[in-house]
Amino acid sequence: MSTSVVRTRRDTLGTSALRPDGGAKVQGSFAFSSDVWADNMLWGATLRSPHPYARIISIDTSEAIKIAGVETVLTAEDVPGKLTYGLIDSDQPVFASGVVRYMGEPVAAVAADHPETCRRALAAIRVEYEVLEPHVNPEDSISGSVPPIHPNGNLLRHQRIVCGDTSVTGPVMVECEYEIGMQDQAFLGLEAALAIPDSDGGGLEMIVATQWLHEDRKQIALCLGLPEENIRLTLGGVGGAFGAREDISLQVHASLLALRTGRPIKMQYSREESFFGHVHRHPAKIWVRHHASNDGMILKIEARMVFDGGAYASTSAAVLINAVTHIQGPYRCANAIVDGFAARTNNPPCGAMRGFGVVQACFAHESQMDKLAQACGLSPVEIRLRNAMRTGDRLITGQPVESVAPVERCIRETDAIALPPQMTSSPHELSLPGGSGRTADRSHIVRGIGWGVSIKNLMYSETFDDYATARCRLDNGVVTLKFATSEVGQGFVTLAPQIARSVLGVDTVIVDPMDTTIGSAGSTSASRQTWMSGGAVDGACRLVRERLFEHVAQQHNLDPLQLEIDDTDIIDTRGTLRISVSKASAGVAFEETFEHHHRPTEDLDENGQGNCHVAFAFVAHRAVVDVDTELGLVKVVQIATAQDVGRALNPLSVLGQIEGGIAQGLGLAVMEEILMVNGIVKNPSFTDYLLPTALDAPDVVAILIEEPDPQAPLGAKGVGEPPCISVTPAIAAAIRDATGRAITRVPVRPSDICL
């Protein structure tokens, strides 16, 4: 409520243009993937393992198929193509065969005339299991002390970083082990898809909520044993993603059911199934030791980082690399020795979630910075300013930070934000820790302040060329844009027309449906779409503009290089010509397609050295909390933040990302955790998995640091991930400040505060 937004006449870059889908969304007429429907449609549903680890002795589907209304029951033996899928490593079975490796692993699928019929059919499938002792300790994967639970072994990846002189020691040393719980993305729009088979059975069309249409298509086609071009994907409305839609969930199952029955299949997870049907944020244990000089300059970092990847690989290998390469935080450090492990266990698979490995690393390095500050007698702000990274500094991987790195400015501008007023003598009871529980007693409430600062890589790393494709067509003054970029709520459908208006001087811009009839846009993740798909739209529009200028130059006998766009006109910079774009483009049409590739990256070598990342963004957070020290309850009062955004192409959208990211980081700090006991998930529901509500939302005061990045196509850095990264350690630090407790684990539980 603290940042006002100025709106200008034309919705070009830099304005707070409004969402083109806003009208449909506020009226309930926007079609999410769960809202689509087809004649003669059946419902699909999945049978999942109740055990974290078990041998499958037998599966008997005979009773299920007899139920009136049930059309088919599928198991592993019905998969015609590749038996496994996976985002980086294809190690997850479409259906379990012989063994189940986590609670919730798919075993069978049914298609029937009604969701209730599906439920009864699933209940009628008899699976005989031999229950095995689950392997749930990642350390056992590292030591090799338990037999492999998967043919690929129990260690998903090990990466070491050795940097500088590892024999260096410092007069000041601080160390601790930190723990991060398993967080769920908890998007609201549950997994859903409609699969419509071709009449000849040779392919299908799917409307699906996903982060990456082309990757889904590739994996579906392999499992179906069909050519990719026979599978056509269209983006259904996506109700949030946050990383959880990067992996396959129901896509292959719905496709198999559709091809088997020859009828459209609608699949839609329940909330409980959603908790089992997508990957989560990795729980992690991170030990760190910092060596510093007496005046607080970091001399060396030692770290051992253990990430629990769960039963299947998903993106664990990439998450781990983000973690180990970000453990220094946004601070200079010349010497380091780091060991990172991603381990396979019988816990639910973990993969992408907003922040992607950096969230865990940041909780550790920021907690360490406060320890270091205390040991050196410095304030949390001073220790961070002294070590703040600048452009040109090197990471512990040897990679120079070529991105604009306004770390010091982020800290100083955050520090300058006014603190919230002290609690009044008679505060509203809902504003106190415990909120609507109305349990707090003002005499037990202590206020604390804490800091967090972070660095986050943008785009994919380690040689992956995650390019984006876009097409621009200018026809009689109207621009039509085409791309396969998943709109998951972040607002690329708002931004893309802004780019076209700025580049081409038009006002009417149509965005075609996102589907696989154009080249890949890569994933809507890694804070990458403004940079990558934005770069592709910008490139396509620029190519069209060249054609338009050539056309006008020819008509007026001018050099096209003299022409420029001025608002909605084309002007001759060396003469008097001024002609509106709509007039200039009357009766002609130009169409161009552009692929944007970021600069190449390198793999890390065995010592973790290499230029593995593309670019970086930075942010600072300061948290103010009130803690009921007797009940261990926390109310986050205010989050102040200054974020390095490069250039705010749509300030309103940027603010939305910042406030939303902060809420998710707050969730990880004080309430959100998937609880597991020996591989059994105990809280797969919104009743038991707590999410921040309107009453938990802190006052957010945000400053956008705009120093356009010359490497970014539009000067803009990705803004989606940074807001949720350092806010978590900032809140934890504020709780430490209020209570004096160690707080080495998030989410912080009441027992961590008052027992």
Partner: protein, 162 residues
């Protein structure tokens, strides 16, 4: 599967119109019947246990989670869904949500719009804490609520000036 004893024909009064529901399994929730049988998919399902508010409708003047209401038990009730708030033009609440950036993915939005209308119909000038408490049953995962509060504040201010 579904025997005659499990299905029923009944009528619901939705958005001012009496709508017949045929061949419906008696276990269906109001949310399911609205979405799958009556062509009103604006109400969204996200938790099936009344925690998230995405399925909020107004039933006889009370804001309820339609996922928790057995459809057949709603016979005789007056039900208003997101589709029934207006007959075309956007309401002030809907417009404010767009203008203030309170919509991202939009999945929680219909439920929130219904909840905000219900709040302001019953409490025209709510305090900040009354707004937060009234909306605390509607989970939004994208926005962090800041723009939603801004939208509600805008409507309260606009209505106060009228």
């Amino acid at each position: 599967m579904r025997t005659m004893s499990e299905t029923q024909i009944y009528s619901l009064r939705v958005n001012g119109k009496l709508r017949e529901v045929t061949d419906a399994w008696l276990g269906e929730s109001l949310l399911y019947v609205l979405r799958e049988r009556l062509g009103l998919p604006g109400s969204k399902g996200a938790c099936e246990q009344g925690e998230c508010g995405s399925c909020t409708v107004v039933m006889d003047g009370a804001a309820v989670c339609s996922c928790l209401v057995l459809a057949a038990s709603a016979v005789g009730a007056d039900i208003t869904t997101i589709e029934g708030l207006t007959d075309g033009a956007l309401t002030d609440v809907q417009q404010a949500f767009i203008d203030e950036g309170a919509v991202q993915c939009g999945f929680c939005t219909p439920g929130l719009i219904v909840a905000v209308h219900h709040l302001l119909d019953n409490t025209p000038k709510p305090s900040e804490m009354e707004v937060k408490e009234a909306l605390s049953g509607n989970i939004c995962r994208c926005t962090g609520y800041g723009r939603i509060f801004a939208a509600v504040t805008r409507v309260i201010d606009q209505r106060a000036q009228q």
